[in-house]
Amino acid sequence: MVKAMKNKGSSVNCLLERKGKRLLPYLLMSPTLIFVVFFLIVPLGFAFYCSLYRADYMQFSKFLGLGNYIDVLADTEILKSIGRTFYVSGISLVVSLIAGVALALCINALSKKLAYVVQIIVLIPWVTSMIVAAMLWKWIFQDETGLLNYAISKIGLSKIGFLTDKDIAIYTLIFVLTWRVIGYVMVQVLAGLKSIPQEYEEASKIDGANKWKTFWFVRFPLLKTPITISAIIVGLSNINNLNVPLTLLAGGPGTSTMMVAIDIYRMSFTSYHFGESSALSIVLCLINFLLAVIYIKAVKYEI
């Protein structure tokens, strides 16, 4: 009898244990999931809800359906800044990819210690705060007191309005954005280069391939993943960059460097049109989401 009771007890225990084991992974996952759901997914849902209303000063006054989206996407100024954002991010992306790959190839030829030091220095812009970096560049690019204009006048050329000339300011912005991301591309590509087995290159050498051919047919295909990943991260980071444009030029002179991010920011926190700004945020998020899907496909995450 006692034995039977004991048996029963242990089987109940066992059942509980099994159930606990089944629930344990979910329990372990829960802190992370709470953060991701509550701080990333729920806000997006709420923003979508807000984007359907007139929500000036956060007062939901009138249901508009997709009215806010139509308003936002029919505004020529906003369309212009969307176009400008893609233009700036596109140029920055192409330049940083080419420069990053070139630099990685340069560094790959260096000795190990030297390569490490160079890598660290090139990565500094990526890890320092964008506010600080943009501010320091702003100081260098000043018209009258800037270091760069001083150097230019020393050579005997006339000063350039890096921050005040309508046609030049946008390239100043592109320069700082690109400066920031080159290190990231380089580190990714370099990691890719290091993971290529040496035998591949030796084999191609024996087969009589020259340096250029080795790069193009052996290395480049194997670098596709790191290049894709850095392209997406760099693109995302530039499209969504508020800090650098805001600190460096704040959209000026005029609206010549206005970006979508600044539009969203001003729409919400200067003029308090939250309905429209959430609509624009959702549009931007859709773009981000599209890039995120490509990212996940490229990375081939496995668990």
Partner: protein, 281 residues
């Protein structure tokens, strides 16, 4: 043959030239900022600007440190610490669950988290959603809001780093501990962390950098002086000091120093954190 040698030297020369230019462009802004911050107000007006040979003074640092900057720096340290500790613990638990268990929603949950990696980079898209929800819930101007948001922005990457790191740790060690009678909780909270210390440190570093440098959301979610993090305080200085580049560059230099110190010691870790996932496949 001769032309080949010449072209080879030319290539090396070109490579060295590129490297020197890149290093210069990367370091000059920080160097020039540090130099500027050490000049006196009068010396700043002198043109042509001097690189060396001026009388160094720390007056701007005193101005900055006596202002709201020190409060903001202190806040940022606390925020980052909270974010790092809580973020690393929850990322570790998720990493453990994702690498050691088989469960139904595993793939789905994993993809939800991984989707957050690119999503959290796009803080311009998230700033309005986050602001609206948290002010709707009355959570703005709360001491804990910012660290919680920093965790949320950086945890997807941290989880991915943990998964990568834990996949490399053999399961046999845990099995042996289990046979020796170690409890589940001992294994999760003591054994596993001690085995994958480098991975934990790497995740911690990524969270710290993300938290320390965040500006966009921080700038709208708190609006009292006592709660500002360091980046917001620096940005406000631009409006406050205007064209006084002395205090501005002093604040910038102070804000960069912690990251540079961390970075110069843990550079290898940072590189492995940045390239986590990219090298596979």
């Amino acid at each position: 043959m001769k032309s080949k040698i010449i072209s080879r030297y030319a290539l090396i020369f070109l490579g060295v030239l590129i490297l020197i230019i890149v290093l210069l462009v990367n370091l000059v802004p920080f160097f020039w900022g540090a130099v500027t911050s050490l000049k006196t107000a009068r010396e700043l007006m002198i043109f042509p600007p001097k690189f060396i040979g001026f009388t160094a003074s720390i007056e701007h640092y005193i101005t900055v440190l006596n202002g709201s900057f020190s409060v903001a720096a202190f806040n940022s340290i606390i925020y980052s610490l909270i974010a790092v500790v809580a973020g690393v613990i929850s990322a570790m638990l998720s990493g453990y669950a994702l690498t050691r268990f088989r469960f139904k929603a595993k793939k789905l949950l994993f993809y939800i988290i991984i989707c957050g990696i690119p999503l959290s980079m796009g803080s311009a898209a998230m700033v309005v959603p986050n602001y609206m929800l948290f002010s709707f819930l009355g959570m703005n101007n709360n001491f804990l809001t910012l660290p919680l948001i920093y965790i949320a922005y950086n945890i997807p990457m941290a989880v991915w780093i943990m998964v990568g790191g834990m996949q490399g740790v053999p399961y046999e060690i845990e099995e042996a501990a289990q046979i020796d009678g170690a409890s589940k909780w001992y294994i999760i909270f003591s054994l596993v962390p001690s085995i994958c210390k480098p991975t934990l440190a790497c995740a911690a570093l990524m969270i710290f950098i993300g938290a320390w440098n965040e500006y966009t959301v921080s700038s709208v979610l708190v609006n009292s002086q006592e709660l500002y993090p360091i980046q917001v305080s620096i940005y406000n200085y631009i409006g406050y000091f205007g064209r006084e580049w002395g205090p501005l560059t002093a604040a910038a230099t102070l804000a960069v120093i912690p990251v540079l110190i961390v970075f110069s010691f843990l550079g290898k870790m940072l590189i492995s954190g940045l390239t986590a996932g990219a090298v596979k496949g």
